[in-house]
């Protein structure tokens, strides 16, 4: 387990910024961590273990240092992975974190929930509600009508274009969804 270096931190923050925008400061700076046995809440920080980035509270980090590197499997919440070529991708485990701070949201109709959960991208006729002000390639968090976060992805069209689109067009490119817990448990 090690802290992230410069480039890695930049990559992670960029990716997060796509989804949460200004709320990034909530995640990084002003976070109150109630984990850990101390009474005072610490802060959260990022740690890297085996090419995976974890979002952990500091007290947990301190106590995870006695675990050997090859025996440490996971700590806190995993937010993403670095690929072999050095790119950073967010994974589904950070959904809770993103959903709490997301700027751009899309709500799905019940009929098209299952399609999204199978890994398909979102089409216009499946969308129930959409927030204003989405630009192309913004990060979007997908919810069900009952406000249960289902996954996240990339906006393919801006909100303005979305209204003019034909019903079969793709609105959101799929990145990750909670169905992966069942489909791809081994790859997480």
């Amino acid at each position: 387990m090690r802290p992230l270096d410069e480039n890695e931190t930049v990559a992670v923050f960029n990716k997060l910024h796509k989804f949460v925008g200004n709320n990034l400061k909530n995640i990084v700076l002003e976070s109150q961590a109630h984990e850990g046995p101390e009474t005072n809440p610490g802060r959260y920080c990022f740690r890297m273990q085996k090419n995976r980035v974890y979002y952990v509270s500091e007290s947990l980090v301190k106590r995870a240092t006695n675990v050997k590197r090859d025996k440490l499997v996971s700590l806190g919440t995993q937010i993403g992975k670095f690929t072999k070529s050095g790119k950073f991708h967010l994974t589904v485990q950070c959904l809770n974190l993103l959903a709490a701070n997301a700027k751009h949201k899309v709500w799905l109709k019940p009929t098209s929930e299952t399609k999204f959960l199978y890994g398909h991208s979102l089409k216009k006729d499946g969308v129930g509600r959409i927030t204003e002000g989405i630009q192309v390639n913004n990060g979007v968090v997908v919810f069900s009508m009952s406000d249960v976060p289902l996954g996240f992805g990339d906006a393919a069209k801006s909100t303005v274009d979305y209204r003019k689109m034909d019903p079969n067009g793709i609105v959101v490119h799929h990145h990750a969804d909670i169905g992966e817990y069942l489909r791809m448990e081994d790859d997480l």
Partner: protein
């Protein structure tokens, strides 16, 4: 008997007819009395008896005809009556010549047909009686020939089942229902064989179950093992409430109910239109599919907020996530799992349920005290790997795959794990100091025996689990006698509580000290050592030395050193060198020469000094003391002096040899120094 019978006859009694009547009446009477004897189960006369009713009626008819009572009922039967009259006459008088040969041919045939019919009926009745006799009150064990025959034929399941039920019935009321000459053992052996072939168990497991349960309960248990337990789920209180979740699932078409009054988060699923493990709520981490019995150890553990908790065998993560939910994501959990293949599901479940306070590691749980440090954790959950005999309803292969060796191996591993767990916990923690040990097995060797072992080896005590339903564990079982507090443990059975077989025990660590320092090559030596050293068994240990040393009463009266070690690391250094002397002592070998012994001792002392310079205390290993004692004994010691420094609770043994000059012993005892100059005595 003859009188009342006669009066029953419809025919009156005139003088002449009575002669014939009597002649006929007599055989019919005889036959009638014989008929009465049917009910006395007298088989030999049955054919004769049963023929009579037919002939009796006809006899009556003939009688009535003869007496010409004018009974209309019988008036129509003239032909029959006369036929029979002749037939019975002929029977009485033997085979006399017939007056009319033609008529007699017909009559003969008719008679023969009648006789055949009567015979068949008799046989049928006899057979029926035979069957009834067998199945009513007297059940007899099959003989060896019958068993051999059965072994050759394909198994007759209904017969087996019937026999099983019969034996269980007999065993439950043995005094009244047993057969002469059949011992209880015979019945039980036959029952075991039948159970093995009917339900598909192996010898060992059936043997074990028979030891645990009486016959009727055994049947209930085995039947319960054949059926699956109801599917349960646990609401994830980090994300939702049971009420809301139940509402959402009902909308999806799931038929469910709250689990029981002892759980506020459990739901039991009767049936479901959608796959219950694949709903969007499941994927969003609102609930976890978990057996009802798996709720119990976490409820017993009762983790508080802001505590440090370790789950030593955490996969697939149901209990770990429940702990996190109870702690509301505060504090810290170490989730450890030894098998790599199960780690994926553990991490996936942790993330799915939104647990953020967990560190997942991949150690062998016995190493955890070294990794995390001894006495560092508030609570521990040890859901030990076991033989799985309680979850036969989930996994039928357990019926045939477990042997005594498997159980022994499991028990050995569990004992090591529980000691590691106890060493991990901090007895002085403000809110904790608890260990919960649970298995999904019903074997005593894996449950009560392990807890008893832990009670002997460490300073822990059993406390109530907080689960008032559930049966108390065994205090005594066959040959074993366990500590009396073992009735605070709880056992759960499928046929009583409708959940998988389970065992839960909650221990509280009283102090961080260990009664012994264990360094041994194998378990046997370790146990012998512990017997020697434990204060309870001091006399025993000294007695053992007596065996080696004849006539050294002085040594016998001296006490063995009581040791308190702060860390067991000291012992690991000193213990290593002590094995050969111990072995020597046990094998009654010759002692090495005095100079060698002295040299060895001096070297060891130097080594000890080096390693313990920092710690500023002296720790004796039992081997050290034994060695010294034995050496001195071999030199015919007259005196031995033990000095105790009460402030530091260290004991020092100083031995003076009557014959030889001893060296100066300098020992530094935390803060005070004592020097003894042992000189030779006059």
């Amino acid at each position: 008997m003859a009188g009342p019978k006669l009066s029953k006859k419809k025919g009156g009694s005139a003088a002449n007819p009575p002669l014939k009547k009597k002649q006929k009446a007599l055989p019919t009477l005889e036959k009638e009395t014989k008929e009465e004897m049917i009910f006395n189960s007298d088989g030999s006369e049955e054919p004769v008896m049963l023929e009579n009713p037919d002939e009796e009626d006809q006899g009556m008819d003939s009688l009535s005809d003869m007496s010409s009572d004018g009974d209309d009922v019988y008036a129509n039967d003239i032909l029959q009556g006369s036929d029979d009259e002749e037939g019975s006459d002929e029977e009485e008088r033997g085979a006399q010549g017939d007056s009319d040969s033609d008529v007699s041919d017909f009559e003969k045939e008719a008679r023969q047909i009648d006789e055949e019919k009567a015979r068949e009926e008799v046989d049928a009745e006899a057979e029926l009686e035979l069957n009834i006799k067998n199945e009513a009150n007297e059940f007899s064990l099959p003989t060896e020939e019958e068993l051999e025959e059965e072994a050759q034929r394909p198994p007759d399941l209904s017969n087996l089942l019937r026999r099983i039920k019969e034996i269980v019935r007999v065993l439950s009321n043995f005094k009244s229902l047993r057969l002469e000459g059949a011992t209880r053992k015979d019945y039980v052996d036959q029952l075991k064989m039948d159970l093995i072939s009917y339900y598909g168990y192996n010898d060992f497991l059936i043997e074990a179950l028979v030891e645990l349960f009486p016959a009727v309960e055994l049947m209930e248990l085995i039947e319960a093992f054949e059926k699956p337990r109801p599917t349960c789920l646990r609401t994830n209180t980090l994300k939702t409430r049971r009420r809301d979740l139940a509402g959402v699932l009902l909308n999806r078409g799931v038929n469910l109910d709250p689990l029981s009054k002892w759980s506020k988060v459990g739901l039991v699923v009767y049936d479901s239109q959608v796959p219950i493990g694949a709903t969007p709520e499941y994927m969003a981490g609102h609930y976890m599919l978990q057996g009802a019995s798996s709720f119990l150890p976490v409820m017993a553990l009762a983790p508080q907020e802001k505590e440090k908790v370790v789950d030593m065998a955490a996969a697939p993560g149901g209990k770990t996530t429940y702990i996190a939910a109870l702690m509301k994501n505060t504090g810290m959990i170490y989730a450890n799992e030894m098998k790599e293949s199960r780690l994926k599901s553990l991490t996936a479940n942790i993330h799915r349920m939104g647990v953020t306070n967990t560190i997942v590691s991949n150690y062998d749980a016995r190493e955890l005290p070294k990794v995390l440090g001894s006495n560092s954790v508030d609570r521990i959950l040890l859901d030990a790997p076991c033989s799985g005999t309680g979850v036969i309803s989930k996994d039928e292969s357990v019926k045939t795959s477990k042997s005594a060796l498997d159980i022994q191996n499991c028990a050995h591993l569990q004992k090591q794990l529980i000691l590691a767990a106890i060493d991990l916990v901090d007895a002085n923690s403000k809110s904790g100091g608890y260990i919960v040990y649970s298995t999904c097995s019903i074997m005593v060797a894996e449950n009560e025996a392990v807890i008893d072992y832990a009670l002997k080896k460490r300073d822990v005590k059993l406390v109530p689990c907080g689960l008032d339903f559930g049966r108390p564990g065994f205090i005594r079982f066959r040959g074993h006698r366990f500590h009396t507090s073992l009735d605070k443990t709880r056992r759960f059975y499928p046929h009583v509580h409708n959940m998988d077989g389970f065992f839960v025990a909650k221990l509280k660590k009283m102090s961080n000290m260990k009664p012994t320092s264990q360094q041994s090559e194998d378990g046997e030596v370790e146990e012998e050592e512990s017997e020697l050293v434990e204060s309870n068994d001091q006399e025993e240990g000294v007695k053992e030395k007596k065996q080696f040393n004849k006539g050294s009463n002085e040594i016998a009266t001296e006490k063995v050193i009581k040791e308190k070690k702060q860390l067991n690391k000291g012992s690991s250094v000193s213990g290593a060198g002590k094995q050969p002397p111990l072995k020597e002592r046990r094998k009654k070998k010759e002692w090495p020469s005095r100079e060698e012994i002295a040299k060895n001792r001096e070297e060891k002392r130097q080594a000890l000094r080096e390693s313990k310079r920092k710690r500023k205390y002296l720790s004796f290993d039992i081997g050290d003391v034994d060695y010294l004692l034995c050496y001195c004994v071999g030199q015919s010691v007259h005196e031995a002096v033990i000095l105790t420094d009460s402030s530091s609770k260290k004991t020092m043994l100083c031995i003076e040899s009557a014959a030889k000059r001893m060296r100066l012993y300098k020992r530094r005892l935390s803060g005070c120094t004592r020097e003894y100059d042992a000189t030779s005595q006059g």
